[in-house]
């Protein structure tokens, strides 16, 4: 990208590309507090906030910030596309439990981040986006590579900032970082006009705090907790519903303690996968459109739904009129605006998931009498297991591939996915037992999330010193094609990721809906023009494998996992396989279709 606006700040070593340089020793960098430009103040604020890694793409208006990163301890991973930078930062944040950081230049760089920012916003993921902007004097004049980034990203950020001057920009960035993780997490953005980052300043950013009123009391009202505890004690058919908020609050331990202390069956939402171990007897796996039949029956028949950290998305609830229709709802959430937004809360408990679960654990004096209810849940588990047919003469089933990977890997393996049928199989047929191991695009449903997310997840695990963990990306053929250019980043950075493309030569979820609801008219869902992904992987410099039959699965999985570096397996799976069970959109969870002819 060219730069028309201003001159580079310095002419230091033009032969090197600072963005791909190895991070220098932090001790070699400027002493904390000694900044000379707005850009150095930005970087000092990021370092002070604990940022270790940034994902981004260089460009004209962001060059001063990149130049300041040259001397920073922050590792920068150059991505192939800004959308990849945003998804990688998002996934990094999910795995590391810290805000992910992404950077882009003005105009097209910033607009390319938009999908990733919106994705993080929908999933309440802490993320900070820094965008270059044309110099302040050109703002609003349709200058080269100008976009009203603050305006464009206003509805999809927790808050966004237009940096006003070199003296204050560091404080702004620090505040944006803290705001992204305060209370309910979410993405923040700081738009950085080039003159602001180039201008001289000797003002170092002060200690960052979230803005007033954005870091709420973690404890719920004590009287409200007591009332909720009495409702739990009186319940005959209690169910816990743990959402993504449990994972974001690092409250999985508290969630496990609470449910086990009182023998309460547990379902999760899809973002809540991993908050409660799926191999626990109490676990009913996840509920919703493609959740398990037994989870959907349990939330349909419960008389006391203890919902923690969920916003009751329509993919979870199905039709609101039939969602947990006989339940008193106890809703724990850090965000008061989520209370009674979609489902009325009889007992609202506003606070941090872990703290409130601790409060509840302490307040419930007697476990509810739920033995008969647990038996009923167990019967449902036996009647409606997740299953699929594997006759010899049929093409390879995608579910088999997911199970093969699950068996071959440890419990701490991180799974990322794109969006579509493969995403559902990856969540259904893998047994998740730990939080922050399931990294997917939930609320926005972003096809193409999987590969850049695998890059971000791998970098996060490596940054945390967890190089031994496996990172497996399940992708669809359509989803993979959208962001596979990030494979080049995985090769360049020598990232050990395994990408399993469940290739059915369809945009499969659409094909499934066309079969169910559009009389099988496969308009624009037939993807028979896909390239050979194994050869494409080799062209990128990765290991490429192709698998067509059952007996090839285990050796290929082993080879790919053993390979030190990115590996792609192109699994040619049954093109007609459908995701089941299924609650038709807006339908009743309890009336899920177990088989295709029930749709």
């Amino acid at each position: 990208m060219s730069d028309t606006a201003a001159q580079p700040r310095s002419d230091a070593d033009e032969s090197d590309d600072g963005a791909t340089e190895e991070p220098t020793d932090p001790d070699d960098g400027p002493a904390a507090g000694a900044v000379s430009t707005g850009a150095e103040s930005v970087v000092a604020a990021l370092e002070a906030a604990g940022a270790k890694t940034a994902f981004g793409v260089q460009g004209g208006a962001i060059m001063p910030v990149y130049d300041a990163l040259y001397d920073s301890s922050i590792r920068h991973v150059t991505m192939a596309h800004e959308q990849g930078a945003a998804h990688a930062a998002d996934a990094y944040g999910v795995v590391a439990g810290e805000p992910g950081l992404c950077m882009a230049t003005s105009g097209p760089g910033a607009t390319n981040l938009v999908t990733g920012i919106a994705d993080a916003d929908m999933d309440s993921d802490a993320m900070v986006a820094l965008t270059g902007q044309v110099p302040t004097e050109f703002v609003g004049n349709d200058a080269f590579q100008e976009t009203d980034t603050v305006g464009v990203t206003r509805p999809i950020t927790k808050h966004n900032y237009f940096a006003g001057g070199a003296d204050t920009v560091g404080d702004t960035v620090g505040e944006a970082f803290e705001l992204s993780r305060a209370g309910r997490p979410g993405p923040t953005l700081v738009d950085l006009p080039k003159d602001v980052t180039q201008d001289e300043t000797d003002r170092t950013p002060g200690p960052a705090t979230p803005p007033a009123g954005t870091d709420p009391d973690p404890n719920a009202d004590a009287d409200a907790v007591e009332e909720a505890a009495r409702a739990i004690e009186a319940a005959e058919r209690p169910v816990c519903l743990f959402g993504g908020g449990v994972i974001k609050a690092d409250a999985s331990d508290e969630a496990r303690t609470f449910a086990r202390s009182y023998g309460i069956p547990v379902t999760t939402t899809m973002p809540g996968i991993g908050s409660f171990p799926e191999d626990d007897d109490l676990c009913l796996s996840w509920a919703g459109m493609h959740g398990t039949g037994y989870a959907n029956l349990a939330i349909t028949h419960t008389d006391c739904l203890i919902a923690v950290g969920t916003r009751f998305d329509d993919r979870l609830t199905g039709g609101i009129d039939t969602f947990a229709p006989e339940a008193e709802v106890i809703h724990v959430d850090i965000d008061p605006a989520e209370i009674s937004k979609n489902v009325h809360a009889d007992y609202p408990l506003i606070g941090d998931a872990g703290r409130v679960l601790d409060q509840l654990t302490a307040a419930v004096r007697e476990a509810p009498d739920a033995a008969a209810w647990r038996d009923r849940c167990e019967e449902w588990k036996e009647t409606y297991p997740l299953t699929y047919a594997t006759p010899d003469d049929e093409p390879l089933k995608p579910q088999f591939v997911v199970e093969a990977f699950d068996e071959a890997t440890d419990d701490d393996t991180i799974v990322t996915t794109g969006v579509g049928q493969h995403q559902m199989w990856a969540s259904q047929f893998w047994t998740y037992t730990e939080p922050r191991t399931w990294v997917s695009s939930h609320g926005l449903g972003t096809m193409g999330y999987g590969v850049p997310a695998a890059v971000g997840a791998r970098v996060a695990a490596d940054t945390m010193g967890e190089e031994d963990r496996d990172v497996v990306c399940f992708d669809g053929d359509g989803s993979f094609l959208m962001t596979m250019q990030e494979l080049s980043v995985a090769v360049r950075e020598e990232l050990d990721v395994t990408i399993a493309v469940l290739n059915n030569e369809y945009i499969g979820m659409v094909r499934q809906w066309q079969d169910a609801f559009y009389e099988g008219r496969h308009m624009a869902s037939d993807y028979t023009w896909m390239p050979e992904f194994d050869k494409l992987a080799e062209a990128f410099g990765a290991l490429g494998l192709r698998v067509d039959d059952y007996d090839e699965v285990a050796p290929a999985v082993e080879e790919a996992l053993d390979y030190e570096g990115p590996a792609v397996i192109d699994f040619h799976v049954d093109p007609e396989e459908n995701v089941l069970p299924m609650v038709p959109s807006g339908g009743a969870n309890g009336k899920f279709a177990a088989a295709e002819d029930q749709l």
Binding site: F323, P336, L386, T387, L580, A594
Partner: protein, 227 residues
């Protein structure tokens, strides 16, 4: 890789009943209860539906760039039914008051307040009590064929003539919605050329704070801040 050997089969798959062996939707028990569209469990005996009502919402906000766009964007993209929106400075430097009139159900009004409160520049937000002082301003430009009659009607509504020319007369009126509506119909017979209305703005009566937690403020002092 290739191989002709028969399927290794999926682990455990053979022991699990297949989808078409599982009972269908109609073979299962289903509860009789249900919820309304606002997610509230419906009492079959007293089935309560929420009616929309008019509510005045007042918010104290930081007077930073884009604050009105943030508030109006939030309201529009969540499809809340907004009737009017006024904004202006308060006695405190850097603070503005936004007054919004909405037509919503009680849960909808509750959501508007909660969603507005989430915005970083919003300091305090709440519904203004029912007996609040509300007033709006309207400027009316009418044809000047009968100046005396225009003046007479203007006096009846405590209006003020702010501009008079050979062809048009412009009158300023303030009052609550009903009296403004009534004045406009009275002026209608002169031929209204142009009209500009602000929509209502409001303050709570007496010592009641207009936005929750608000205290009387002067320049330099925050009017409210719990934190």
């Amino acid at each position: 890789m290739s191989g002709d050997s028969p399927s290794a089969g999926a682990p455990e798959a053979d022991s699990r009943p297949l989808p078409d062996e599982q009972p269908g939707p109609d073979e299962r028990d289903h509860p009789e209860g249900r919820r309304n569209l606002e997610g509230i469990r419906i009492d079959p005996v007293v089935e309560a539906e929420h009616e929309s009502r008019r509510a005045v919402i007042s918010a104290l906000v930081e007077d930073e760039p884009g604050v009105l766009a943030r508030v109006s964007g939030l309201v529009s993209r969540r499809q809340f039914n907004i009737e009017s929106l006024t904004v202006g400075p308060t006695t405190v430097d850097g603070h503005s008051r936004i007054t919004m009139v909405v037509e919503e159900t009680d849960p909808g009004i509750d959501q508007i307040e909660k969603q507005m409160a989430k915005l970083k520049p919003v300091i305090s937000v709440g519904e203004v009590a029912g007996d609040a002082v509300t007033s709006e301003l309207v400027l009316l430009k009418v044809e000047a064929d009968d100046p005396a009659a225009v003046h007479a009607v203007s006096e009846m509504y405590d209006g003020r003539t702010v501009d008079a020319g050979p062809d048009t007369i412009t009158v300023e009126l303030t009052g609550d919605k009903a009296s403004i509506d009534s004045a406009i119909s009275a002026f209608d017979r002169f031929g209204i050329v142009e009209i500009a209305r602000t929509g209502p703005t409001a303050l709570a009566r007496g010592d009641t704070p207009t936005a929750p937690g608000e205290k009387p403020g002067t320049a330099g002092e925050p009017t409210t801040h719990d934190d």
